[in-house]
Structure formats: structure tokens, C-alpha cells
């Protein structure tokens, strides 16, 4: 790990998670349950892609090798991506999308709220923008998880299945490794472990209103943030990166 610049690595983790989740949310375009939800999901996708642009642009500057946000987004392999795995799982049905948004956005709003105090001015500035967006996503998703959980028998079952499917992947968001520790020590990143209890409290409150329950904590997959992904990421990237890879000399 000696050659890894922890700040560069951090920017990739934040940027890639935003990008991959944005890509998944964008898959809803023209397929949502209502026109209003189509618009809302596109908004959320746009927020994530906007965050990804900022984080990856900064990553490029930190790296100092002339790579911009598009070079990083379109010309890295799957094992070079540093997103949390929860972002890359298929969009699934509307319940999956809303449960993922609830779990992730609740975490991200708390994370960015603290990151506004980062010792790194660029990250603090991005956090200021991202914090508000993620708080809104969390509220929107929370309202829908409650409607689905406490709606019909079918929607309840789908929402519970989504919670069971996604819950194990939420833990990765709170794990820290040497990169995170270096960043926490210098005040660049907040320590996610410190607010896991608060996060859990918010999630449980929403699930209670939704008449849904959390599964037991047994399997806790992780690895995305160090480049070990699920089988799904390579397909997502193959689709996303197809044009810049097919025409490497082209500017778009």
C-alpha cells in the first residue's frame, strides 16, 4: 500500500460510488412507475453524476498525471474502481432502488455533513453541496419505503425482500482500512464508525413505520472500496464505457 496516495484513493472511492449509483439510477429513465417518479429518479441520478464529476475531477488534480474526470470514469478497469458494492448491485425493482437509496443516502448525508468540516478545502466544498442532496434523497426514499412497507401485501413483501437483499452490503460503508485511517487522522474524512449508531437508529425508525424488519447480521460482504467487486460491475462499466473505449482518440 506504500505507493497509494490516500487522498487520491479517497476521491476515487467517493467519486466511483456516486458515479456507479448514478448510472444505476439513470437506468430508470422512462421505466419508472409514474411520470413523477421518473422525474424524481432522474434528479437523483443527476445529483450523483454531478457529485462524481466533482470528486473525480479533484482526484485527477490530486493525482497530477493529467487525467480528468472522464479519463478516470471511462478508462479504468473494473478492478480499478473503488465504489462500495451496494452501489453496483442491479437496480432491481422499485423497492430495491428505494431501499438502497434509503440505506446509502442516510449514510451519505451524515458522512457529508461531517465532511463539510474537512481539513481538505476541496472535499469540504463538495460535501457542502452533496450533504443537502443526500439529505433530500434519504427523505424521499424513506417516505417511499414506508409507503411500500405499509402499502399492500405485495409491496410489503417486495420491500422486505429488498431489505434482506441489500442489508448485508450496507456494512461496507462503515468499514475503515489504512487509507481511511490516514484520512481520519489528518481530519480529511470523518470516521463513519462514529455515527453508525445514529445511522442505524434512523434506518430502524423508518423500517418500523414501514412495518419492516432488519435481517440478522451474519454475512457482511466487502471489497468494493479496494477493487474487489461483485460480478455486476464489469457489465455496468462495459456499457458505460463503450464509446470512449471504441474510439479512444475521439473527443465528445
Amino acid at each position: 500500500m506504500s505507493k497509494v496516495d490516500p487522498l487520491f484513493e479517497t476521491c476515487l472511492r467517493l467519486g466511483d460510488t456516486a458515479l456507479v449509483l448514478g448510472q444505476r439510477l439513470a437506468e430508470w429513465s422512462s421505466k419508472a412507475p409514474t411520470v413523477e417518479l421518473d422525474i424524481a429518479l432522474s434528479n437523483h441520478a443527476l445529483d450523483m453524476i454531478g457529485q462524481a464529476q466533482l470528486f473525480l475531477e479533484y482526484a485527477g488534480r490530486v493525482e497530477g498525471k493529467g487525467r480528468d474526470e472522464d479519463a478516470l470514469a471511462y478508462h479504468r478497469q473494473d478492478f480499478e474502481f473503488r465504489n462500495a458494492m451496494i452501489a453496483e448491485l442491479p437496480k432491481g425493482d422499485f423497492a430495491c432502488t428505494m431501499v438502497r437509496q434509503l440505506l446509502f443516502a442516510t449514510y451519505a448525508s451524515m458522512f457529508y455533513e461531517r465532511m463539510t468540516a474537512s481539513t481538505d478545502a476541496d472535499l469540504a466544498a463538495i460535501a457542502g453541496k452533496a450533504e443537502k442532496e443526500m439529505a433530500y434523497h434519504a427523505r424521499h426514499a424513506g417516505e417511499w419505503v414506508v409507503r411500500l412497507g405499509d402499502g399492500t401485501e405485495e409491496s410489503h413483501q417486495r420491500a422486505q425482500d429488498a431489505v434482506n437483499l441489500l442489508w448485508p452490503y450496507a456494512h461496507e460503508l462503515f468499514q475503515t482500512d489504512v487509507v481511511d485511517q490516514a484520512m481520519i487522522e489528518t481530519g480529511v474524512l470523518p470516521d463513519a464508525a462514529a455515527f453508525k449508531g445514529e445511522w442505524l437508529g434512523e434506518i430502524e425508525a423508518v423500517l418500523k413505520r414501514a412495518t419492516l424488519s432488519l435481517p440478522e447480521d451474519d454475512w457482511m460482504p466487502s471489497g468494493g472500496r479496494s477493487g474487489q467487486h461483485t460480478e455486476h460491475l464489469a457489465y455496468l462499466l462495459a456499457e458505460m464505457q463503450v464509446l470512449p473505449r471504441a474510439y479512444p482518440d475521439a473527443k465528445w
Binding site: S29, T34, I39, S42, R147, E154, S155, A250, W252
Partner: protein
């Protein structure tokens, strides 16, 4: 304004005079049945076009070649959904429900613009749609901002502002391709080859073959004839194609010194009518996708309704 107490014949006369005088008609005003029917047909068809029109461009959102282009495209397709909503709302003021309009779209009873039944095969198609299809839509729609029916006219003002933004973005995308690598230039030319004629046909059948035009013009729903609007678009697009250094796929295209307009070769109206009748290359797919999205979302809409009912029951219980 038409007086409710007037005799039926007088009402129709008063209405015609009111409209001829460039006054707006509002939802609470008396209006001839045919006027309302024409508007419902036109506005809902327009709304459906926005909704179906999300598909061809949406096809490239996940493959947009830069993050900036991805955000622009996503926002554009999102605007189309928004236009669909304003237009459905405008039509709802004429006492037709959105559920009914959506049902008519999915049953195939209601039509939408034929242009969206063509496939988007390359990234350049996204640019060509923005440039030509939104360009044609603007030419068609700017006069609608002065339409006699108030809610439609007001919706169109907002729609046109956004469409002109889309048109500029599409043209800028084409410009990037036309100044790019040989493959990108070829892509831009190929897109123009495939989209040119369908775009020209977007203005509808020639005037002598347009059954609703005369009455719509009298009611000031429509301001210019199909052929006049088409000519305006062609004159504009020819100049833009020149700026892009790509060639309009019409060997008969030439400038007419006498009229000051560009004359085109023969338009293939057989193809137009075939596509209107549902035989476009993507007609079935577009409809199948719309139905699938609607059906796949049924459980979500049912859940929202059931939850709202539970909430009401809980509130009543607390109140009691």
C-alpha cells in the same frame, strides 16, 4: 366571452368572434364541443409524444461518452417527462383524466409523433434528434404559445424555452462530432441521413391532405399551415447543415431564387402514413416498453393508494 344564457347558435357565433379577436379561452368558458375535442386530441397527442419520445434518446443515457454529456442527456429526457406532465395537466382542464389519456396511449387509440418510431443506432442520433427533431418541434410549437386556449398556450411557453435549449445542445453535440475524428464525422452524416426525412415529415401531411387544419386555423389553435412550417424548418436546417459540413440526403435540394426558399425533392408520404399506422421500425417496441413500464409499476401505484387510505383511516380514528 360567450354568455351562458345565449341561444346555441349565438353562442357559437360569439365564440368565433371572441377567438377571432385574439382573446384567450379559459377552462370555465363555454366552448364548442369540437373545439374541446380538437384540443384534447392535439394536447394529449403532444403529451404522449413527450413520454414516448423519452425512449429513443433514453436509449443512450447509460452509454453517453462523457459525464457532461450524460448529465445533459439525462436532464433532457427528464425535461420531456416534465413536458408530458404539463401537457397532461393542460388537457385535464378539458375534463379528460390522465388515466384515460394514458389508457388511450397504451391501447393504441391515441397517437404520438411518428418520429419516435425510428431507432437511435449511434450516439450521433442523440445529436440529430436534438438538432432536427427539437428544431422542428420548436418551429411547430412557437405559434402554439399564442394558441387561443389559455392553458395550452401557457404550457407551451415553458415547453418552448426548454426545447430551444435542447436544440442548441443537440446542435453543439453534432458540432463536436463534425469537428472530430473521421469516424465521428461519418457518424454525424449517417445520423443526418436517417433523421432528415422523418424530421421533414414531423410537420404532418401536406396542406391538401391535412383534414383538421382549416378548422384549427379558424379557432386559432393552429396559426400556420403544415407546409409553411415545414418550409421554415427546411430553410433553417439547410443553413445549419452547412455550418456542420454535413450533407442533407436530398439530391434535389436547391435554392429557389424566385421564392427565396429551399426546394426539396419528393417527400415519401407512403412511408409517413405507414409509420402513422404503426409500421415504423420501432413502433411495436416503443408501445411494448411503455406498457411494460406501466404494468411493472402497477404494484407501486397500488401500494401508494393503499397506504394513503390507511393513513386517512388512522387520522379519522385519532380525530374520533
Amino acid at each position: 366571452m360567450v354568455h351562458e344564457a345565449s341561444a346555441p347558435d349565438e353562442r357559437a357565433e360569439q365564440f368565433d368572434a371572441w377567438v377571432a379577436d385574439e382573446n384567450k379561452v379559459e377552462p370555465q368558458d363555454w366552448m364548442p364541443e369540437g373545439y374541446a375535442k380538437t384540443l384534447v386530441r392535439q394536447i394529449s397527442q403532444h403529451a404522449h409524444s413527450e413520454i414516448i419520445g423519452m425512449q429513443p434518446e433514453g436509449n443512450w443515457i447509460t452509454r453517453a461518452p462523457s459525464l457532461r454529456r450524460k448529465a445533459i442527456l439525462l436532464a433532457k429526457v427528464q425535461d420531456e417527462a416534465g413536458h408530458g406532465l404539463y401537457l397532461y395537466s393542460a388537457a385535464e382542464t378539458l375534463n379528460v383524466s390522465r388515466d384515460q389519456m394514458e389508457a388511450d396511449l397504451m391501447s393504441g387509440k391515441a397517437k404520438y409523433s411518428s418520429i419516435f418510431n425510428y431507432p437511435t443506432l449511434t450516439w450521433a442520433d442523440v445529436g440529430a434528434i436534438g438538432w432536427l427533431v427539437d428544431g422542428a418541434a420548436i418551429v411547430n410549437q412557437i405559434p402554439l404559445c399564442r394558441c387561443s386556449y389559455g392553458p395550452y398556450a401557457r404550457a407551451m411557453i415553458r415547453v418552448c424555452k426548454e426545447e430551444s435549449f435542447h436544440q442548441r445542445q443537440g446542435f453543439e453535440l453534432m458540432m463536436a462530432l463534425s469537428q472530430g475524428t473521421p469516424e465521428q464525422k461519418a457518424m454525424a452524416q449517417d445520423a443526418l441521413n436517417r433523421w432528415w426525412w422523418p424530421a421533414v415529415q414531423m410537420f404532418g401531411p401536406p396542406d391538401h391532405d391535412s383534414p383538421h387544419s382549416a378548422q384549427s386555423m379558424a379557432w386559432k389553435i393552429k396559426r400556420f399551415s403544415n407546409d409553411d412550417l415545414r418550409q421554415k424548418f427546411i430553410d433553417m436546417a439547410v443553413k445549419q447543415a452547412q455550418a456542420l459540413h454535413i450533407e442533407i440526403p436530398d439530391p434535389d435540394l436547391k435554392f429557389n431564387e424566385e421564392t427565396g426558399h429551399w426546394d426539396t425533392g419528393e417527400i415519401n408520404w407512403d412511408e409517413f402514413w405507414a409509420v402513422v399506422k404503426g409500421h415504423g421500425p420501432c413502433s411495436r417496441e416503443r408501445m411494448a416498453n411503455r406498457r411494460k413500464a406501466h404494468n411493472d409499476g402497477a404494484w407501486v401505484r397500488e401500494a401508494a393508494t393503499a397506504f394513503a387510505a390507511k393513513e386517512r383511516a388512522r387520522a379519522e380514528k385519532v380525530a374520533a
